[in-house]
Symmetry: C2
Subunit: 348 residues, 2 copies
Amino acid sequence: MPQQPGHPAHPDWPHAISVGLLRLILPAIFVVADGYAAAGSADTLHAWNGGPTKTALVQFVKDVTTEGGPDYVPPAERIAVFSNDGTLAPELPCGVQLAFALDRVKALAAKHPQWRSKEPFRSALARNMKALAAQGVRGSLQLVAATCSGMSTDEFSETVRSWLEKARNARLNRRYTQCPYLPMQELLAFLRGNGFTCYLISSGDLAFMRIWAEKAYGMDPDQVIGSPCRMKFQVRKSGSVLIRLPEFDLLGEGAVRPGGIDRAMGRRPIAAFGSADSDLEMLQYATGGSGRHIGLIIHHTNGGNEFAYDRKAAFGRLDKALDAAKKSGWVIADMTKDWNRVFTKVEK
Amino acid sequence: MPQQPGHPAHPDWPHAISVGLLRLILPAIFVVADGYAAAGSADTLHAWNGGPTKTALVQFVKDVTTEGGPDYVPPAERIAVFSNDGTLAPELPCGVQLAFALDRVKALAAKHPQWRSKEPFRSALARNMKALAAQGVRGSLQLVAATCSGMSTDEFSETVRSWLEKARNARLNRRYTQCPYLPMQELLAFLRGNGFTCYLISSGDLAFMRIWAEKAYGMDPDQVIGSPCRMKFQVRKSGSVLIRLPEFDLLGEGAVRPGGIDRAMGRRPIAAFGSADSDLEMLQYATGGSGRHIGLIIHHTNGGNEFAYDRKAAFGRLDKALDAAKKSGWVIADMTKDWNRVFTKVEK
């Protein structure tokens, strides 16, 4: 049994793989020696600058893991929820699910001439991001519904996996799987190293987000909450399949999020990480219980290395939630002040 | 680190507690020494007689856990799904959720005089089980909706927990929490000891079944699939709460079950355990993939120690699924032949 899984010395290790590996190794160590937290020590947080934000994170974890302390939380109840777009990965020019949907629409457009004059397809074909943002999650799910229905869940997975292997964020000049923020990958590892289970919450297609979450953050499929599409069960000679239907249950956005969280896990999270007004209720839910908790908002202030936006943004508007953060004592992570690096280094 | 967690020598140990304990201890052992399976050995299955049924179960587990073997399945994909009523616990005179709903209706009847002439309340007040069975899961969820709405999820949990502490199955003369079948508790421990995650699937109220599954089988809340009630999120001065609404999404019954399973876990189970026609599609789904799998049906043949019923039963009818079992190669566990004990011994 390894005594010191530690953190690789070089900060440019491929995180998507390493975090997945850590997830496999860490539970064994922390179940048999709860409290021993080499890989879960604050030294994991290299890309976070010292200061009130990092201190608040480290103190929170210390409080809930100190056995016998007033704020101790047993491992099964150490649940953290993360929004995707803008929190764990960039949402500009658009989030990863919308990028997938746009490519699907483009690939299938020749077979659907009517799309040229019908929303949200017209805006999708024109890559009119402002118009798409205005149509919200319903618009992007409509694109997914039109381009990914009538196929089995296995066929859909294959389609998403192939796409993720190649798809690139052109503005950031890197593959989507290389886009997750380094400080947030470190935070996931730090929390998991301290017995937390980390969930991804998105308004996007549940099946898509599960594959993304596995590749990008090493999350299990049952650690993802999203909008499930309805399905039809079919028994065939060769076996049985689930066929995707072009209808979604919206469980991941705004005021229905707390209910979606309860439905998926049956427990109230004690830590929530968001970046936009659509994360407001998730933060209110996680920080509305009686025990020790933390709410944190990523504030996109880094126009040099990423993007700078808040109260007037088309995607990821942060306005009400920023005011609520100040009133509610949530931590605000300023990307310029609190992070010394945004991304992993990649070979272009 | 204990080398031999083993099985308590005395078979009358309180299973509800011990299985929960095993769940905590076993993962640590099996993650660090996968393949070493003292507590997961077939010796766990004391209440199962030797014969083709037990052999089929043990061989299946051996096949999927033999590293390098043609049927090896990694631990993360070792998923077993269990129906509740009739499979893990008796469903006569009625399942545990309906028993709860009946008591709630009785307790609140004085405030609702109109219930005396309105279905399904009239049948509930008259304890007319045949009429209630005919109204199916919708009837029983209607009783839960009428008696458990407008309260917070925390208040509901409290109500269920108090009820479970005292409620008794009069026909079996024991508390409901003492009703789970001993051989099935052993099977849960055997599977978990071999790296499986065991899920409960029910058409009943998700929140109710989660509390039941924790008490009865040591399952985590996210290992339960059921019918979630819709909820309203409220922010109060004292914190935030989820209020139960009198509407349910039916995700746990019949043909929608496979979709409900996918929605909850995002993986196809490789083992399914049922006892009635309502479990048919769950069995078809779990046994309809390409790898090694097992489907098993509990056949209620033991009228002396439990109840005897199948093709014409009002609750838990087993007709189509019994025919499908023979055609599909599913294992049929005959309660008289395959089990040497049905229940744990309890102080009355």
